[in-house]
């Protein structure tokens, strides 16, 4: 299983990387939506994207709409991980095609439980 971590904060990418590594995921990092699209276009076979909302060049919402519009990535699971916490923003992200939504700050357990909800864990998650 491979996770593409998309966030303009290196610290946040590092935190998320550590969490999903412990679940058995391999990871690739991107600092914004455009960089992430480029990586996918280059052929990265990702199973999961963890996506920040506010990033330079291309934000997470636009990234989600672009990915959902392309059949090549129809099996890619998209989870927003963002400080955007308004009810309307979550509705908007889900309507655009995001599968799950985590609001910062979060705990490692929150990410694990969300991935379990999505049926995505590379190895058995401890109860």
């Amino acid at each position: 299983m491979h996770a593409l971590i998309i966030d303009d904060s290196r610290t946040m990418r590092s935190i998320l990387k550590r969490i999903v590594h412990e679940l058995g995921f391999e990871t690739t990092e991107a600092a914004n939506g455009q960089e992430a699209l480029d990586v996918l276009e280059a052929g990265l076979q990702a199973d999961l994207c963890l996506i920040d909302w506010n990033m330079p060049l291309m934000d997470g919402y636009t990234f989600v709409t672009r990915v959902r519009a392309d059949q090549r990535w129809r099996n890619l699971t998209l989870m927003m991980v963002t400080t955007e916490s308004e009810h309307s923003q979550i509705v908007r992200a889900l309507a655009a095609g995001a599968h799950e939504y985590v609001i910062k700050p979060f705990t490692a357990e929150a990410i694990v439980e969300k991935l379990e909800l999505l049926g995505l864990h590379a190895k058995e998650v401890p109860a």
Binding site: S85, E86, H87, I90, V91, A93, L94, A98, H99, E100, Y101, V102, I103, P105, F106, T107, E109, A110, E113, K114, E116, L117, A127
Partner: protein
């Protein structure tokens, strides 16, 4: 770190008030839970605060409250909830077609995630014309108040709440999320100490007693299970935590595997040993509920704690 003597005092206090075990090795937990209270009380450390507990009954109640709070998440462990929706509920919809009502007990509800998770599943799965009442009980008054309020922090909402249900069942209120009134009205809140005799309650179709027996000794576990068996319908379902069992504790139960890949164990009253055989006089006090008496649990004594 808390002194051995003071840890012993706190462990005895907890056992006396709630029958919960607080064994050696949990010193860090006691320290973490009591330190904020010590600071609020103006004490420099937990040891000084425990000295205060020996003479201050009001502060003792606060301490017990803080020590009995457990972290929880929405749809915790997932599989039992899938079993509830896919296996248990269809059976109940068939067997309760004459009353079209379900009574469910979340028996150590903590801050209410279990009770409201079940309420969401029922809201999505109950056919039109059916009603359900979820009775949420806990020993902690502060937890019960949280369930009543139905408000959760952002960090709590991240714990297992699917985004689709977050937007469907919650409204943003300041920095918190509040459960919608239609769901909150399905949940009745009342104080209950599992280790003490139960007050009159409805007969339950489903009892959720998950991840709580682990805190009690064997004798108390047996006692709790025996009393639960008298509150549950003869064809009802008892859910325990994934590491808990009735095995070697109470032979009034039959274990059935169900849910995804048969990973979930539900406990059913053994024929002729549960509610049907409750002691004379208990049947009426059990107050077998119709939908209109669903608020019975509200009439419970304000507290069942002793000595607090």
């Amino acid at each position: 770190m808390i002194s051995e003597t003071n840890f012993g005092y706190v462990a005895d206090l907890l056992r006396r008030e709630t029958a919960m075990l607080c064994e050696r090795g949990k010193e860090y937990l006691v320290e973490a839970r009591l330190l904020p209270l010590a600071r609020q009380a103006g004490d420099p450390d937990v040891d000084r605060y425990v000295d205060r507990l020996r003479t201050d009954g009001r502060e003792r109640a606060r301490a017990v409250d803080a020590l009995t709070i457990n972290e929880t998440s929405w749809f915790r462990d997932l599989a039992p909830y899938q079993a509830f929706t896919d296996n248990v509920l269809p059976q109940l919809l068939s067997s309760r077609a004459h009353t079209r009502h379900l009574d469910i007990w979340s028996a150590a509800c903590s801050s209410g995630q279990e009770a409201y998770s079940i309420a969401m599943l029922l809201d999505e799965a109950l056919p039109a014309g059916w009603t359900a009442r979820i009775h949420a009980t806990d020993v902690s008054p502060s937890m019960l108040e949280r369930v009543r309020t139905g408000r959760y922090s952002q960090v709590e909402m991240n714990r297992g709440m699917p985004a689709t249900r977050l937007v469907k069942y919650f409204q943003r209120v300041g920095s918190e999320w509040e459960i919608v009134p239609s769901l909150r009205s399905m949940v009745t809140v009342a104080p209950l100490n599992l280790a003490a005799p139960f007050p009159p309650m409805p007969t339950f179709d489903v009892v959720l007693l998950r991840n709580v027996l682990i805190y009690f000794d064997q004798t108390t576990k047996r006692d709790i299970l025996a009393r639960v068996s008298r509150t549950i319908s003869p064809d009802g379902f008892l859910f325990l935590g994934s590491t808990e069992t009735t095995l070697d504790l109470d032979d009034a139960w039959v274990r059935e595997t169900t849910g995804p890949a048969g990973r979930v164990v539900v406990h059913r009253p053994r024929a002729g040993m549960a509610a049907a055989t409750r002691p004379a006089g208990a049947a009426s006090s059990a107050g077998i509920a119709s939908p209109t008496t669903a608020s019975t649990a509200n009439q419970l004594p304000t507290t069942l704690r002793t000595g607090a």
